[in-house]
């Protein structure tokens, strides 16, 4: 039992942090994408712990890159078909009258969730997908469609789509996390995952994505806490640093505790995704997602309060992180939905009795 990051993992994390702190990372997104490909962030041998360490740093930097959708949403489906995710990619699953979330798509009592996008015998796909993350940026588009035997995952080249996928604006508060609509008007597609395996792959996609976003949330929280501590140490009022007031310092101490426990859960969930996939990893991921999301929102809110007046100005960068925190808080459901999922795992069915043991 050893929870310590290895020296390699620490170097990996620190290299990412260093790159993201450089202004080059905030520049042109094509160049940044080329950089991160070169840095190995899309390599297939990376474990989920290594990916989570990256996600944490991307959250810390509030990177706009569609890396998370490429690796988290599209990656498992591409890899299941022996392909490597190299280009910006995403997954299209939500439909207007069909499944809104991955959780709904996977819900056992409604397999497929009433999906209306279909695939024909010649492999062309037809229908409309909504709320597709990074729809306008993605080059490789993994689409979930209803085939004759159930849900299939197929690959569509976004450049072949007419009309092109649209950017319908931010899916929430964060403009760097846009979502859009994808019209599939009988466009050619390549098979990735057949109906008999799609349930497992979609579950793996959701597990991995939620684990990465939990780590990203911890990165957001860490950055906000660091800003708040810095401000509380340097800003003076009534003749002394404001951090000398327990009214300022104690919420930051509480926040530190919240962020560190969220970090423990995020690392543990990432480890669990690879080491113990199934109900144990699902619980680990849900717990990490709840704690990470709550920590990110709380950290930004406490930081804004610590900054006082300047905290809610546009010029103060805090609100960009707060927007990301809110996007995270509502991706594929809320923390209340995640707690409901945990409760079902803990309280319902035979496995419930043993659940608390892990």
């Amino acid at each position: 039992m050893d929870f310590a990051l290895t020296g390699e993992q620490e170097t990996w994390r620190d290299t990412a942090a260093k790159y993201l702190a450089d202004e080059r990372a905030a520049g042109d997104s094509d160049r940044t994408w080329a950089d991160v490909t070169g840095l190995g962030w899309l390599d297939s041998e990376l474990g989920t712990v290594e990916l989570a360490l990256l996600a944490e740093q991307l959250g810390h930097a509030r990177s706009p890159l569609p890396w998370w959708s490429t690796i988290g949403l599209a990656g498992p489906a591409l890899r299941a078909a022996g392909r490597e995710p190299r280009r910006p990619a995403t997954l299209a699953w939500a439909e207007e009258a069909g499944p809104g979330t991955l959780a709904a798509l996977l819900a056992p009592h409604r397999p497929g969730g009433g999906m209306s996008c279909t695939v024909a015998a010649d492999g062309t796909v037809r229908g409309r997908k909504v709320a597709v993350p990074h729809a306008a940026e993605a080059v490789d588009l993994v689409v979930a469609v209803a085939g004759p035997d159930g849900v299939e995952l197929r690959l569509v080249d976004a450049s072949a789509l007419r009309p092109a996928p649209t950017d319908a604006g931010p899916a929430g508060l964060d403009p760097t996390r846009p979502a859009g609509t994808v019209e599939l008007s009988g466009v050619a597609s390549t098979p990735l995952v057949a109906a008999d395996a799609s349930g497992d792959v979609l579950a793996a996609i959701r597990r991995r994505t939620l684990a990465l976003l939990a780590a990203e949330a911890v990165g957001v929280a860490t950055r906000a806490l660091a800003w708040a501590v810095g401000y509380a140490t340097t800003r003076t009022q009534f003749g002394r640093p404001i951090g000398a007031n327990q009214a300022v310092a104690h919420p930051l101490a509480d926040l530190y505790g919240q962020v560190e426990t969220a970090r423990s859960l995020a690392y543990r969930a990432a480890w669990s995704v690879d080491a113990e996939p199934g109900p144990v990893a699902d619980r680990a991921v849900a717990a990490a997602a709840v704690a990470g999301r709550e920590a990110a929102t709380a950290a930004c809110e406490t930081a804004i309060q610590t900054y006082g007046g300047s905290g809610f100005t546009w010029e103060q960068p805090l609100h960009h992180w707060y927007r990301r925190a809110w996007w995270l808080a509502t991706f594929d459901g809320t923390v209340a939905d995640l707690r409901a999922e945990l409760a079902a795992s803990l309280l319902d069915g035979a496995s419930g009795q043993d659940a608390p043991g892990r």
Partner: protein, 385 residues
């Protein structure tokens, strides 16, 4: 103790409600969601303000001799409740009517009263307040803006921030240091300054919502006549405290009435999204209702004390503190209710309201400072800061 309107109050309320139903312009945003921004259309605010004045609803509590109606704070409270429920806009001179006017009545010279008061009532003059400074923050006695005597004039240099709607205003009630050698709250003076005087620069402060409700005001050797001083030179602390006391008076009613509007919209949103049957959502809505009701009746209790003793009861001090938290919780809940990725206007509306609400625990006295005040002045605990 009788919580019903008196016959006279009921008549006032009925007349007002009737007038509001006829006079409030209808503005609706996307898909039934409210139009954004109370002050987006300044011309509409101006014309509604003129209508308010004409109908006799501007300066309700001002003495009749200064153009007011001479009514009780209860009438003011009824006005605030009803106009919020009708989703009516505020008079464009909200700071002039509620804070600067009463300060001029209490501390100003006859000439100041004669010139400013009627113009505040009609909306011809729009006031903002210039108290906060970048370095002073919550500590008003650390004000550094200097007003140097030069013959019959004061020459003002300094910078004010967080002035609400200063970019719409043409006048400012300014707190400045007239005696640079006196420390803390001594040596301050309050001035009535025309913002169109050379040397004044007003820059809107963009909030994290992307909008600008506040501005910073820079004074660079701005020459102000000596008769612009309210009260005596060096009397600024007392005058400023008078202004802030008026801010606290029935302001709780404004805040609570706004919260009630928000609560109604929350219920409408939960229904529109089909979330009103979710037990967790129902529990939260009920909790928000209890908070709203707690504020509503605490306001009325404080008002009774104000009417009996002339000063608001100590309960008043908790209203802003608890209102700000209640509003933040309400808007966060609403964002969660509309976070399912189906845009319908309400989602954008609530996200903007939620972001805006984060300022509630900071603006007009941070929650930390309010807790200090309650602990020390109401509970009598030893000074902790």
């Amino acid at each position: 103790m009788d919580l019903r309107d008196s016959a006279e109050e009921a008549a006032f309320r009925a007349g007002l409600r009737d007038w509001l139903a006829r006079s409030v312009p209808v503005t609706t945003g996307t898909a039934g969601a409210p139009a954004r921004g109370r002050w987006d259309d300044v011309d509409a605010v101006r014309s509604f303000s003129a209508a308010l004045h004409e109908a006799g609803y501007a300066g309700l509590t001002w003495p009749v001799e200064y153009g007011g109606r001479g009514l009780s704070p209860v009438h003011q409270a009824i006005y605030l409740e009803e106009s919020a429920r009708a989703e009516a806009g505020e008079h464009i001179g909200v700071i002039g009517l509620g804070m600067v006017g009463p300060t001029v009545i209490a501390c100003g010279s006859p000439a100041q009263r004669a010139w400013y008061l009627p113009r505040i009532l009609t909306g011809e003059i729009i006031f903002c307040q210039g108290f906060s400074e970048p370095e002073a923050g919550s500590d008003l006695s650390a004000v550094r803006t200097l007003a140097r005597r030069d013959g019959d004039e004061l020459v003002v240099t300094g910078r004010k921030v967080w002035s609400s709607y200063a970019h719409l205003a043409d006048h400012c009630l300014l707190l400045a240091r007239t005696d640079p050698d006196a420390t803390r709250h001594r040596g301050l003076s309050c001035l009535l300054v025309d913002l169109r005087t050379p040397g004044v620069t007003v820059r809107p402060i963009r909030q994290m919502t992307g909008e600008a409700e506040f501005a910073e005001i820079e004074f660079d050797e701005v020459r102000v006549p000596l008769d612009a001083v309210v009260g005596e030179i060096g009397d600024g602390w007392r005058v400023a405290m008078t202004t802030l006391a008026h801010e606290r008076g029935t302001f709780g009613f404004t805040l609570t009435a706004r919260l009630e509007v928000a609560f109604r919209r929350l219920v409408a949103t939960a229904r529109a999204r089909g979330r009103d049957t979710d037990p967790l959502v129902r529990d939260q809505i009920a909790a928000r209702y209890v908070e709203l009701e707690g504020l509503r009746w605490t306001n009325r209790r404080a008002l009774a004390e104000l009417r009996r003793t002339g000063t608001p009861g100590p309960e008043t001090s908790v209203v802003k503190l608890r209102w700000s938290q209640a509003h933040q919780r309400l808007t966060a809940l609403a964002v969660l209710l509309t976070a399912d990725g189906r845009p319908d206007g309400w989602d954008r509306y609530w996200r903007r309201e939620m972001l805006r609400s984060r300022a509630n625990t900071i603006e007009g006295g941070t929650s930390q400072v309010l807790r200090n005040v309650i602990a020390e002045r109401v509970l009598g605990l030893p000074r902790s800061y």
